[in-house]
Symmetry: C2
C-alpha cells in the first residue's frame, strides 16, 4: 500500500492531471454578524477543504482557496482569500472564475436581517431580542448557474438521511458531483482529522472508507480530476 | 523601565502576594448551540483572561481557569477546565469556590430556547426559522450572591458609553472591581494582543494605558491583589 502511494505520488508529479486547470474551492465556516461582538457560525474546521486545495495543487491545478475564519496554514502553491460572511464568500467566488468549483465551506444558510451597529444590551423590560433571519445567497447554486459554468462539486454534511439529502442537493443545484458525509459521527466529523465519504453523481456512487482527511483529499482530488477529463474537458 | 520590571518580577517571586489565595477566572467566549452544527458565539479570543490567569499564578494564587472554546495554551501552574456553553461555565464556577472570582469570559447573554436535535434544513415553504432566545444565567451575579462570596471582579467590554455601562454593572452585580475597555477600537479589541483599561471600584478610578495584554495582566493582577488584601483579607 505504501508502494502504491509512492508510485501515485510520483505519477502525480509527472503527469499533473490538473495542469492548466483553474480550481476554486471554498472552505471553513462563515460568520454572520449579530452585532459588533456576536455572530452565528458553525463547527466546520476547514480541514477537509484545505486538504483538498493542497491535493488539487499537487495535481497541477491553479488553486484559489476562499476561506472562512479558520485557524489553518495556507497550503503550498495555493492562492488564499480570507472572508467572513456568506456574502463576502460569494463575491470572492464570482470574482475568481474557474474550470472546477468545489463548495466545501459550511456556508450559513441564514444571516441576521438587521446587524446592530452597537453591542445589543440586555434589557429587563423588553426581554430577549428576536433575531430576524433572512436567507443567504446559495453560493454553489449561483456558481452552477453562471454561463459558462465550471464543473461544480458540492458537499453534504448531514446528521441523518445523508445520501437522501445529498442526492436532492445534487439535482436541485445541478452539480456534477456531491461528496456526502455523516457529521453526527464524531470520529469523522467537523473537528476530526479523519473523514469518510460517499461520492454521488448522476450515474455513480463511490464509497471512500474512513481515513485521514489528507489521504481522503488525495483520493477525491484524483476522482474529481478524472470526472473533469471524462465529462467536462472540451 | 526594564529595571523596574525586573525588580517587580523578583519581588513577585519572593513575596507571592496571592500565596494561598484561591482565584477562579473565566475566559474566552461561550458557544450556544442552535443545532448539532450551528451556534451563536462572539469574538472573544480569551487572551486577556489567559494572561490574567498566568499573572495571578505567578503571584502565588491557586488558579482555576474556566475556558470557553479558545485556541490558547494553558498557562503554567494553572488548573484549566474547558466548557462550551454559559450553563456549563456557571456549573464549573459553582463547583470551584474561590477567594477571588474574575469574570473575564464574554458569556452569551442569551441561548437558544429549543436546541434542535438534528441539523435544521432550509425549507422554501416555511421561510427562515425563528430563533427563540432565552436569557442565560448571569454567572458573575450568581457568584457574587453566594455566601460566603468571593471578591468579584468583572469586565465590561463595550462599543460605546464604556464607563457608564461599567459603573452600572459594578453596582447591579455588587462587584468589588470592574475592568472596562472599549472593544470598538480594533487596536485593543478582542483579537488584538494589546489592551487598555479603566478599573473602577466604589471609590477609585484607575487608568491603565495601552500595552500588551501580558503586561496589562501583570499590572491588573497586582492591583487586584492589593485590593484583596486591603478590603477582603479577614
Amino acid at each position: 500500500q505504501i508502494k502504491t502511494f509512492i508510485i501515485e505520488q510520483l505519477q502525480d508529479s509527472v503527469s499533473k492531471p490538473l495542469a492548466g486547470v483553474r480550481l476554486t474551492i471554498t472552505a471553513g465556516p462563515t460568520r454572520e454578524a449579530i452585532d459588533p461582538v456576536r455572530y452565528i457560525s458553525n463547527h466546520s474546521s476547514g480541514k477537509m477543504g484545505f486538504a483538498l486545495a493542497q491535493s488539487a495543487a499537487k495535481l497541477g491545478a491553479e488553486v484559489t482557496l476562499i476561506a472562512g475564519p479558520v485557524d489553518l496554514q495556507t497550503p503550498t502553491g495555493v492562492k488564499r482569500l480570507d472572508v467572513e460572511s456568506a456574502q463576502e464568500m460569494l463575491e470572492a467566488a464570482l470574482a475568481n472564475p474557474s474550470d472546477i468549483f468545489i463548495g466545501c465551506a459550511a456556508v450559513a444558510d441564514y444571516r441576521v436581517a438587521n446587524i446592530a451597529e452597537h453591542k445589543i444590551k440586555k434589557n429587563a423590560q423588553s426581554g430577549a431580542p428576536q433575531l430576524e433571519l433572512i436567507e443567504n445567497p446559495d453560493i454553489l447554486k449561483t456558481i452552477a448557474e453562471q454561463n459558462p459554468a465550471p464543473m461544480c462539486v458540492g458537499f453534504a454534511a448531514e446528521t441523518r438521511d445523508v445520501e437522501t439529502y445529498a442526492i436532492d442537493k445534487l439535482k436541485r443545484k445541478k452539480l456534477a458531483l456531491i461528496i456526502a458525509n455523516d457529521v453526527s459521527n464524531s470520529d469523522i466529523g467537523f473537528n476530526s482529522d479523519n473523514n469518510a465519504a460517499v461520492v454521488l453523481s448522476a450515474d455513480e456512487r463511490v464509497v471512500f472508507e474512513q481515513q485521514s482527511k489528507t489521504s481522503l483529499a488525495h483520493q477525491l482530488a484524483h476522482y474529481i480530476a478524472n470526472h473533469f477529463h471524462q465529462n467536462f474537458r472540451r
